[in-house]
């Protein structure tokens, strides 16, 4: 864990935003495919799904170097409020 390998705080925060944006976009492009009629539009959404899966995997590897990285538990650490 040498300090050089960690991301700078501002980088890590922007990465956090990008990762969440991509995660939501992945869900949306996947679910929307069940609603669209036009098959060409659907094909573009599927392309977005493929690219985003790859993008998230790559970003995830870098996110592990965030200064606030922590072991990932099986369940969320805090209860969901009603």
């Amino acid at each position: 864990m040498d300090q050089q390998q960690l991301l700078a705080a501002h980088e890590a925060i922007d990465l956090h935003e990008i990762i969440n944006f991509k995660t939501l976009g992945l869900a949306k492009s996947k679910l929307m495919q069940g609603l669209v009629f036009d098959q060409e539009l659907r094909a573009l959404m599927e392309k977005d799904v493929q690219q985003t899966q790859q993008a998230i995997a790559e970003l995830q590897a870098v996110y592990a170097k965030a200064p606030f990285h922590a072991p990932v538990p099986e369940f969320r650490p805090t209860p969901i409020l009603n």
């Binding site: 991301l7 700078a8 501002h10 980088e11 922007d14 990465l15 935003e17 990008i18 944006f21 991509k22 976009g25 949306k28 492009s29 929307m32 609603l35 669209v36 009629f37 036009d38 060409e40 539009l41 573009l44 959404m45 392309k47 977005d48 690219q51 993008a55 790559e58 970003l59 870098v62 170097k65 369940f75 969320r76 805090t78 209860p79 969901i80 409020l81 009603n82």
Partner: protein, 136 residues
């Protein structure tokens, strides 16, 4: 379950007249959503790129930015070809904007869902049940 219209409109959502041009209207809406998501992604990535210093991260973000720009082009070309988007015909674009906003406003006035949409009783357990998540 009370499914009465609070503010009755001419047709309800079960009226087959609503199916006229519905697929085209729906696809135009989904495509517009898709386009604006990819466009927002391009902007977000540029912001992140100009905040990053690590060479690995910069290279990654740059590749993804290029991908986003290419996808944005593909979607806009598709939308132009399908006549869902008229960047060179602002009068037509204005008409489409007005039609989709009217249509969406009408849809938004309808009552689609029952009053109580909490379906938690249908689930055997929730991920945080072991820590009393339901009592939080």
């Amino acid at each position: 379950m009370n499914m009465q219209q609070a503010d009755p409109i001419k047709m309800d959502y079960l009226d087959p007249a609503n199916a006229l041009n519905m697929p085209e209207m729906a696809d135009m809406t989904f495509a517009m959503d898709f386009l604006s998501r990819v466009k927002e992604g391009v902007r977000n990535l540029s912001v992140a790129l100009t905040e990053s210093v690590s060479p690995d991260l910069r290279a990654l973000l740059r590749t993804q930015l290029r991908q986003g720009i290419a996808l944005h082009q593909e979607i806009s070309e598709l939308m132009i070809r399908k006549k869902w988007f008229h960047p060179y015909g602002l009068k037509e674009q204005f008409q489409l904007d007005m039609l989709s906003l009217q249509n969406t406003l009408e849809i938004s006035k309808q009552r689609f869902f029952p009053d109580d949409t909490s379906r938690k009783g249908m689930f055997d357990r929730t991920p945080d049940a072991h820590m009393g998540g339901s009592e939080a």
